[in-house]
């Protein structure tokens, strides 16, 4: 990789001819023009109106090579909006009912909530949702790292909003956040499956399996039990196993990309 000194030289600051720059762009006023361009572009990248997320990430100590990948995550806006909509919808719905109705609505909320980050992650990667997919595949950053950055970005954004929405639900106590561990488990299972099949297919299958599981368990026992301690412990176990599979098969993300399977 080039060093700053090499680029400084390439850009003419060191009094050398810039690399590739032998024609119209290398006149006597070239260095001055480049300085002006550099200042304008720096100002743009630093622009407060556009860079709030980048600034927060930098303050949190994020690697400056990761920050542009996070702020450019294509599904970020969609997943964020979906999370806000779902969280507020169910929170307001639960708040408006009687105590008995509220319990049923909380179960619905707890069932739907894990699907929000799951589907958000599915929309964060792949040629169908990312216009820059080809450029990203041809770049040296490996597919695993890029996928991980985007998945974590979307997951944190959507679960953050859902947590706030959960606090708006007036009943249910601590059970209001019973969706969190299932959300982690379903999302990580889908990520592990993405090393074998398309991200959207993986998320769709996991989401369907989760809903079927909740419905079946609800027929057998108290629906609220579905989000009790057994489910929480099981979610941790499933998530741990899925993380292991995901890490073991991480190279497959890149291999599947170059073999045209996504």
């Amino acid at each position: 990789m080039s060093t700053i000194q090499e680029v400084e030289a390439a850009l003419g600051r060191a009094g050398q001819q810039p690399r590739f720059l032998t024609g119209s762009g290398s006149g006597p006023d070239h260095s001055a023009r480049m300085e002006a361009n550099f200042a304008a572009i720096s100002a743009e990248i630093d622009a407060p109106r556009q860079g709030w997320l980048a600034r927060i990430l930098k303050r949190l100590g994020a690697d400056d090579r990761i920050v542009p990948l996070v702020t450019a995550t294509p599904a970020l806006r969609r997943s964020w909006l979906a999370a806000v909509a779902v969280a507020l919808l169910f929170a307001l719905n639960a708040a408006s009912g009687s105590a008995a109705e509220g319990t049923d609505r909380i179960v619905i909320f707890l069932t739907i909530a894990p699907l929000v980050p799951l589907l958000g992650v599915a929309l964060a990667f792949g040629p169908a949702v990312d216009p820059t997919h080809e450029v990203a595949v041809a770049a040296p950053m490996d597919g695993f790292r890029l996928f991980l950055v985007r998945a974590v970005t979307v997951f944190v954004a959507s679960t953050g909003i859902l947590l706030i929405g959960s606090l708006l639900v007036p009943t249910g106590g601590a059970a209001r956040i019973g969706w969190l561990l299932p959300a982690i488990a379903t999302t990580v299972v889908a990520m592990a499956a993405t090393t074998r099949v398309d991200a959207r297919a993986a998320a769709g299958a996991v989401a369907a399996a989760w809903v079927v599981l909740v419905v079946v368990v609800s027929q057998i026992t108290d629906p609220g039990a579905m989000f009790g301690p057994i489910t929480q412990v099981t979610s941790v176990a499933v998530a741990s196993g899925a993380i292991g599979v995901f890490l073991k098969r991480r190279r497959q993300l890149d291999e599947l990309s170059v073999r045209g399977n996504r």
Binding site: I4, F20, L21, F38, I45, P68, T71, T132, V135, A139
Partner: protein
């Protein structure tokens, strides 16, 4: 710095039952190689294979000795690669500089100060410094194409794969990009697919013509133009049995099987040679 070569050996790729590419042997670089061919001739498949977007189903590719089918070597190739896709694939909501910063991060260029330097340089090279703060959705098709070329220049790659970089550009812009490619060719191995043989292929050291996935011609632009020797003429009235284009008021440049008696022979161009080659296969 040594400019890398790309070598292709018995390369074959197919989609389903349809053979998209079947190249026995091809070497490109140093300098620029133009890839010509009708739509569906395998140009994009070849370029995507060279750009490591796909792995060849059979045969081999070596970029400066590196094998793209090996994950580690593929990453090493990508560190030296600039790629312009056939379709721009730009995120409309992002601003120009913001998008370049994103691609620079994908190219593992850092720290931030270094990325900005490269962005300023790349946008200057394609004449887009004045739109650095504009949203991509507000750009014209030609400006978007130049932005795609700018992102490929980030990091100063010594292998550049350009899939129809002149598409959507007007004549003046095509001239600017052609000059840029000609300048860059002295320090990089450039493989460029194009439908503008006279503008772009003529500045390349080598021309490859693909037809139905196989190499129909490899040689210099002059050698390709020579294929049309004795088949090109200029006339005041277009010949219905030839391929003619207007080159002035009541003047048509025609390519056919033979020069009609009494017609004024013309010097063949690269495009004429390409037409003769494709028409007679």
């Amino acid at each position: 710095m040594t400019v890398p070569t790309i070598s292709v050996d018995r390369l074959s790729h197919q989609y389903g039952q349809q053979i998209a590419l079947d190249v026995d042997r091809l070497v490109t670089g140093p300098g620029a190689t133009a890839v010509l061919g009708p739509n569906g001739s395998g140009k994009t498949t070849l370029l995507q294979l060279l750009a490591t977007l796909m792995v060849a189903q059979s045969g081999s590719i070596r970029v400066d000795g590196l094998d793209p089918s090996s994950p580690l070597e593929r990453t090493a190739i990508r560190r030296r690669l600039g790629y312009v896709a056939q379709h721009d694939g730009l995120p409309d909501r992002m601003k120009v500089a913001e998008y370049c910063d994103y691609v620079a991060a994908l190219k593992e260029i850092g720290p931030e100060r270094l990325r900005r330097r490269w962005i300023a340089w790349a946008l200057d090279r394609v004449g887009l410094s004045d739109v650095a703060t504009d949203r991509i959705r507000t750009l014209s098709g030609g400006t978007k194409r130049r932005l795609s070329i700018a992102q490929a220049l980030l990091g100063g790659p010594d292998v550049m794969i350009l899939d129809e970089p002149l598409a959507s550009l007007d004549a003046e812009q095509r001239g600017e990009i052609t000059r840029l490619i000609a300048q860059t060719a002295s320090e990089a191995n450039i493989v460029v697919a194009t439908h503008h043989p006279d503008e772009l292929a003529s500045i390349c050291g080598q021309v490859v013509v693909l037809d139905h996935g196989v190499v129909a011609f490899v040689g210099s632009p002059g050698e390709l133009a020579a294929r049309a020797e004795g088949r090109v003429w200029e006339t005041a009235v277009p010949d219905p049995n030839a391929t003619c284009r207007a080159v002035g008021p009541d003047r048509f440049h025609c390519v056919g099987d033979f020069v009609p008696s009494g017609a004024a022979k013309a010097t063949p161009t690269v495009a004429d040679g390409y037409l003769v080659l494709v028409r007679h296969r």
